[in-house]
């Protein structure tokens, strides 16, 4: 069974404008990592926002893990979709420590489990000693790893990543890319990653989609 299934998705920012995404269909299996490529304005980030529930489509349906999250008569709020997201600029809460950032999405767990889950996540991203730091005290690469840990902590059905390497310099990018691929595989995470760099896709993703031309590239 597909973990994400999209059918006939259409979205435009206003009625007057042409749709950014038109009649888009797609599906992916559990554990797959799919890259989304395309030029600026082709609707890559918008597609992630539609899957996560931050935007509402004009038409089409989206199913996640067998549940319809959006269709003509259904709209499930973002917080109830079981989707994790790593934002382009990470969006780590500046008024919380690293630990509190990761704890943030674990309020549904019993207290003891929360703590062990935070430790587990910090270990996964190899940042065990950084728990008490604030986001501004971390480097770009460290911030990215914490953002990933925070998104993975609640065990989402699918992880969405919006240009995860765009804020990193070229030297750092390569090593972090490898690291990220390793972490995602270790966590057996289903992931959709938006990028404009084909190298990112080749390094991490099993397959890719090019938006803007409405074609799927294997």
């Amino acid at each position: 069974m597909s973990i994400v299934e999209i059918q006939g998705l259409t979205f435009s920012f206003s009625r007057k404008e042409d749709p950014v995404i038109y009649d888009f269909s797609f599906s992916m299996e559990k554990g797959e990592i799919v890259g989304i490529l395309g030029p600026s304005g082709s609707g890559k980030s918008t597609l992630l926002r539609l899957i996560s529930g931050l935007e509402m489509p004009n038409k089409g349906t989206i199913h996640i893990a067998g549940t319809t999250v959006v269709s003509e008569g259904v709209f499930i709020q973002p917080e109830n979709r079981g989707v994790g997201m790593v934002f382009q600029d990470y969006a780590l809460f500046p008024h919380m420590t690293v630990k509190d950032n990761i704890l943030f999405g674990l309020s549904h767990l019993p207290r003891k489990q929360r703590k062990s889950r935070v430790d587990e996540m910090l270990e996964l991203v190899q940042m065990e000693t950084f728990g008490e730091r604030y986001p501004h005290e971390l480097s770009g690469g460290q911030q990215q790893r914490i953002a990933l840990a925070r998104a993975l902590a609640p065990k989402p059905n699918v992880l969405l990543m919006d240009e995860p390497f765009s804020n990193l310099d070229a030297n750092l990018k390569e090593s972090i890319r490898e690291e990220l691929g390793g972490i995602l595989n270790k966590a057996n995470m289903t992931c959709i990653m938006v990028t404009h760099d084909r190298n990112d896709v080749e390094a991490i993703c099993g397959r890719s989609i090019v938006l803007g031309k409405m074609s799927v590239v294997k």
């Binding site: 509402m56 259904v74 709020q77 973002p78 917080e79 989707v83 997201m85 600029d89 943030f104």
Partner: protein
């Protein structure tokens, strides 16, 4: 199918936040709608008398005051803004800040101070008589009538134009001005051909604020004996006890305001004002010799007349009456002012936070909502007061069966004789002050943190308390202080809507001045000025933070 889609979209957007916002907007708009509804009702005899003999005079005076003040504040505000933004001269850094201070003196305090100071028994004429043996024509210096009111309004309201225009010139106009200079044009051509036309939206923005103040004024015009629509609203209400006619007058005033806006839109229609995208600070040109002295003198004279002289005069009077005024009743006055201001500010901020959070979606519906809740700022205090009163009287009538079942009598006026009415009036009038401060906070934070929180499983309300609220704390505090200060200074609403025997600093000051106890009015005046200076400092600090 279509109905399902609408239902789905409503489900996404509409929640408790929207419902509270819509209820707030309705409460704010209701008094204004009540005013307009009075136009279609049958007029009474009083109104026929007012319309036949008095209305023309009220409208003429109001329009005269508005037009003359608008022109003079524009001239004073723009020239000072240009000098400060584009040139360097002695004490310029001081004047940059100091020229905002006249705004901290409420116009009615300035009016009674100048009227007394320049009058026959005032310090100017007595000094000339006693020390220089010069007997001058007392009429020559008298601050009275329309001329006097225009003098007061211009000198104490010009900072609105000055502040907005200066901010625009300092940051937005650099490339155009530099280009004009490079094309070989002199300072006058740059000012008249580039600066004036470019800064027109900023100038109009400032002048519109001045006009709101003049239209809503009661203190200056009543102290100087000018009949305007605002003073007439008071007289018909308190003199004739005729709320219906007062409402009709308020409706007339609203017609003038709407007309003014349409006129301004008409003027602007074909022009477009583009502002350069890259904002770079304007590098000031150093003025030397006579030019530098002239600039210094110009700013200095305005600062002296607009702030320092009346301020020193008030201190002198306060010293004379301190022992008499500074007693327990004065502390009661302070307590009452702070009490009503704190409650109103809290309500304003809670509603402002809810509405501003809803408006982050930037939909056309949220735009309309934000315009509705902030509409009170462009409506003069007397209009809001009469609308609120009419609304509360109707509410009391509606609640009469409930009152009688509670054993409170057959048709008592409970709400319309309580402090609730004044608090509602303040909330309508000053919602924009709180809302704007919080909106700026939300804009600075953006939506990414809230979105991240929602992706981590928290709903809109929990996201607000755990993520948004800590991040907009600073804006919340500055919004609180600015709104609190505005309420402490406010006069017309407090005069019209306060319950019996309830005084605020502003109403007490006005009463002293109206009873010719000018010296006694000085201590409360100084307190109001001190509170206002705090707000000027905060505006300055916010400005600096935004720049950083």
């Amino acid at each position: 199918m279509r109905a399902e889609l609408i239902k789905r979209n409503l489900k996404k957007e509409f929640n408790g936040w929207w419902i509270i916002s819509i209820v707030g907007a309705v409460v704010i708009l209701l008094p204004i709608l009540v005013i307009f509804s009075s136009i279609v009702q049958e007029p009474n005899e009083n109104w026929l008398h007012i319309r036949q003999y008095l209305l023309k005079n009220y409208v003429t005076n109001t329009v005269l005051l508005v037009v003359m003040t608008a022109i003079l504040t524009a001239i004073l505000g723009v020239t000072l803004a240009w000098l400060i933004a584009a040139y360097d001269f002695p004490l310029k850094r001081f004047f940059r800040w100091g020229l905002m201070l006249p705004l901290s003196i409420p116009t009615f305090i300035a009016a009674y101070t100048y009227r007394t100071m320049l009058g026959y028994t005032g310090v100017v004429q007595t000094t000339l008589r006693n020390h220089f043996d010069y007997q001058m024509n007392p009429e020559l210096l008298t601050v009275s009538g329309i001329g006097g009111a225009v003098f007061i309004f211009t000198l104490f309201l010009f900072p609105y134009v000055y502040m907005i225009t200066r901010a625009f010139l300092e940051n937005q106009s650099t490339s155009y001005i530099e280009n004009a200079r490079l094309l070989g044009r002199g300072p006058f051509a740059v000012f008249f051909r580039i600066v004036l036309p470019l800064s027109r939206p900023a100038i109009i923005g400032g002048v519109v604020l001045v006009i709101y103040e003049v239209l809503g004024d009661y203190g200056v015009t009543s102290l100087l004996g000018i009949h305007t629509i605002s003073t007439a609203i008071f007289q018909t209400w308190f003199g004739m006890y005729d709320v219906d006619s007062a409402m009709r007058l308020a409706a007339w005033l609203m017609v003038i305001i709407v007309g003014m806006f349409l006129f301004e839109r008409l003027l602007r229609q074909r022009r477009r004002y583009h502002v350069s995208n890259k904002s770079r600070p304007l590098v000031p040109v150093k003025l030397t010799g006579m030019a530098g002295i002239a600039a210094f003198m110009y700013c200095g004279v305005v600062f002296l007349i607009g702030f320092l002289i009346p301020f020193i005069q008030l201190i002198a009077w306060a010293k004379m009456t301190f022992h008499k005024v500074w007693d327990t009743s004065f502390f009661t006055l302070l307590y009452q002012t702070v009490y009503v201001a704190v409650i109103s500010t809290m309500i304003i901020l809670i509603l402002a936070v809810v509405v501003a959070n809803v408006c982050r979606s930037h939909s056309s519906l949220s735009f309309i909502l934000s315009k509705c809740v902030t509409s009170g700022y462009s409506i003069p205090g007397p209009i809001i007061a009469i609308g609120v009163l009419a609304m509360f009287i109707a509410l009391d009538k509606w609640l009469a069966p409930l009152y009688s079942s509670m054993g409170l009598g057959k048709a008592p006026l409970i709400l319309s004789l309580s402090l609730v009415m004044l608090i509602v009036g303040y909330c309508i009038r000053f919602m924009a002050t709180g809302f704007n401060a919080i909106e700026v906070g939300f804009e600075k934070v953006g939506t990414k943190y809230a979105e991240a929180s929602r992706m981590l499983g928290l709903g809109k309300t929990r996201t607000f308390f755990k993520v948004d609220l800590p991040l907009i704390k600073g804006s919340l505090i500055s919004g609180f202080i600015l709104t609190f200060v505005e309420i402490c200074k406010e006069l017309p609403l407090a005069l019209l809507l306060r319950p019996f025997n309830f005084e605020t600093l502003a109403t007490k000051t006005y009463q002293y001045a109206n009873d010719e106890q000018i010296h006694e009015a000085s201590i409360s005046s100084l307190l109001i000025i001190a509170i206002s200076i705090v707000s000027v400092i905060i505006i300055q600090m916010i400005g600096k933070r935004v720049k950083q």
